[in-house]
């Protein structure tokens, strides 16, 4: 669309700018303020320059949390995206009660408060009272104690994450599939195309836009994950499920080490910002690709 050049449009965006600046800019500057000072108490503080940053960049716990975070987000994408697309392909194509019911059920996990998600899985995984925990521990005979065994804690967190968020990929992929005109399928039918060919040459290319969004949204949100693993494992056993946000909250609220936490926050935010930029560029490209 041809847009008119008119700087008075600033008056329309001003409320948003003021509101978001209040919520984001002031707190961010506070964090910057923390990150360059050593604060002893409310009256004694000293400017320390980049010391906290140097300190955090040599912090092994931070590096381990970062590696853990990337492994986690990578696994999330590898599991949820193919699974979500596969589920979307099995969903009914015509409107009707079956479609409505499926949509409501699939979307359900997305609307449960995040700590309740954690609680649901705590209840589900307990070896004494939980269905899955009991099944693994008693029926399969594998000693199951996820709060003390790191590998089991990881699997539990992954399971919960896949259960919680695959629905988002399903809904996005389903929306993409529904937008494909019937004529494409009819043409493929006349050509005698196999189901795989239909998927590879019609459905997958047509889903490119929504899948880009799905991949990037899942990456970003899994990168910021806090509440669900905190409720399920508390970041443990040891540090084994301590992701970046959990480590940051431990540092800032738990130890009240605001200098280090401030520097960590800025580094964390920079990483997120870099990915946001890639995200934004990819979206812009998808946007122009569709209008061509």
């Amino acid at each position: 669309m041809q847009k008119t050049l008119d700087n008075r449009a600033w008056f329309l965006v001003l409320p948003v700018v003021l509101l978001v600046a209040f919520n984001a800019f002031i707190p961010l500057m506070t964090v910057v303020n923390y990150s360059v000072q050593d604060i002893y108490d409310s009256t004694h503080r000293a400017f320390v320059g980049a010391d906290w940053y140097r300190d955090m960049l040599h912090n092994h716990r931070l590096y381990r949390a970062l590696v853990r975070q990337f492994v986690f987000s990578g696994l999330v994408l590898l599991i949820e995206v193919p699974l979500g697309v596969a589920i979307a392909l099995t969903m009914p194509k015509k409107d009707g009660w079956a479609t409505s019911l499926t949509l409501v059920l699939v979307a359900l996990p997305l609307l449960i408060p995040w700590n309740v998600i954690g609680t649901i899985w705590v209840v589900f995984l307990r070896p004494d009272i939980g269905l899955l925990g009991h099944f693994i521990d008693h029926t399969l005979g594998i000693h199951f104690d996820y709060p003390t065994v790191p590998m089991q804690a990881w699997i539990s967190v992954m399971l919960m994450e896949v259960w919680h968020w695959t629905s988002l990929v399903v809904l996005l992929a389903y929306a993409g599939l529904r937008a494909i005109p019937d004529a494409y399928y009819q043409a493929a039918h006349i050509d005698g195309a196999s189901a795989w060919a239909v998927f590879r040459y019609i459905q997958l290319p047509k889903m490119r836009g929504v899948l880009t969004i799905a991949i990037l949204l899942r990456f970003m949100d899994s990168f910021l994950i806090y509440t669900e693993p905190f409720v399920l494992t508390g970041g443990g056993p040891g540090d084994s499920t301590t992701f970046l946000s959990i480590y940051l909250v431990k540092l800032a609220i738990g130890q009240f080490d605001v200098g280090r936490a401030g520097a960590f926050s800025i580094i964390y935010f920079m990483i997120v910002l870099a990915f946001s930029y890639v995200f934004y560029q990819a979206l812009q490209r998808v946007g122009t690709g569709e209008t061509k």
Partner: protein, 267 residues
């Protein structure tokens, strides 16, 4: 409807999706001694005691009232400021528009953990701690950028000729916007309201940090069963089930718009 084998995969997925929720429902209908004494696939002696306790104790049910209060305030504020801004982004070029749009989006990606402490101090300084408005305002951090983003997508789908014709007919911008334009994109407004509701409803970190007792959300009230002597699994489960109900109702009402909203690629 013909039954295909592919439907079997879907049914298996739905069963796996519902199993943990069913298990919580099962727990919520039993009392704690019953839960601890044996594993049962369904409640042998179903009791609504846990639900009755939540519905009759103000310290429990006020949690739901508080959650609804700040979620509603947040949705109204987010829509009110995002509608004009989205219109500006979809219709006009202005100084720094692209940078501004990107800056707004980065706040959707901002880690809540980064802002937690400074946001607490900011709202303390303003004397807003433990009010509904504090949580509603804090949640605009991620909901306003999201609302602008979704609405801009819907607005760009409306031809500009409609605006131009209306202005020639002598409509002022506010009158045109309220009486012609908003009714045109009401599906978009509905989808946006849905997502604002959803993200504000599920968020806990800000909601818990900014409240003490008077505005405490239900999700935070739930943690107190953990700190009490032992854990009352039945009560905890009943409270959890109650938090799922509003979400299920909201999805039911917008089910036909969800796919449309996602198809625009703006979530």
């Amino acid at each position: 409807m013909k039954f295909h084998t592919r439907h079997l995969g879907l049914i298996v997925y739905l069963v796996i999706l519902l199993l943990p929720i069913y298990w919580m429902l099962n727990m919520s209908l039993r009392d704690n001694n019953d839960i601890m004494s044996q594993l049962a696939f369904y409640p042998h002696r179903p009791t609504f005691h846990n639900y009755v306790q939540i519905l009759t104790d103000p310290s429990w049910y006020m949690g739901y009232v508080n959650s609804f209060a700040y979620v509603s305030i947040n949705t109204v504020i987010s829509l009110a400021v995002a509608l004009p801004a989205a219109y500006a982004f979809s219709r006009y070029r202005f100084l720094g528009d692209k940078h501004l749009f990107f800056w707004l989006l980065t706040n959707r990606m901002a880690p809540a953990a980064v802002f937690l402490l400074p946001v607490f101090q900011l709202y303390s300084a303003l004397g807003l701690i433990d009010t509904h408005i504090a949580v509603a305002l804090a949640h605009t951090l991620f909901n306003v950028p999201l609302a602008v983003w979704i609405l801009e997508g819907f607005m760009s789908g409306v031809p500009k000729e409609i605006d131009e014709t209306a202005f020639i007919d002598g409509y002022s911008l506010p009158r045109f916007f309220l009486t012609v334009f908003i009714p045109l994109i009401r599906a978009g407004v509905g989808v946006t309201a849905f997502f604002c509701f959803m993200f504000s409803w599920v968020e806990l970190l800000f909601a818990r940090t900014l409240t003490i007792t008077a505005a405490k959300p239900i999700a935070a009230v739930m943690t107190r069963t953990v700190s009490a002597s032992g854990l009352d699994w039945g009560l905890l489960s009943a409270a959890g089930i109650f938090t799922i109900v509003p979400g299920a109702l909201v999805i039911y009402f917008v089910r036909n718009y969800i796919a449309k909203g996602f198809a625009l690629g703006r979530v």
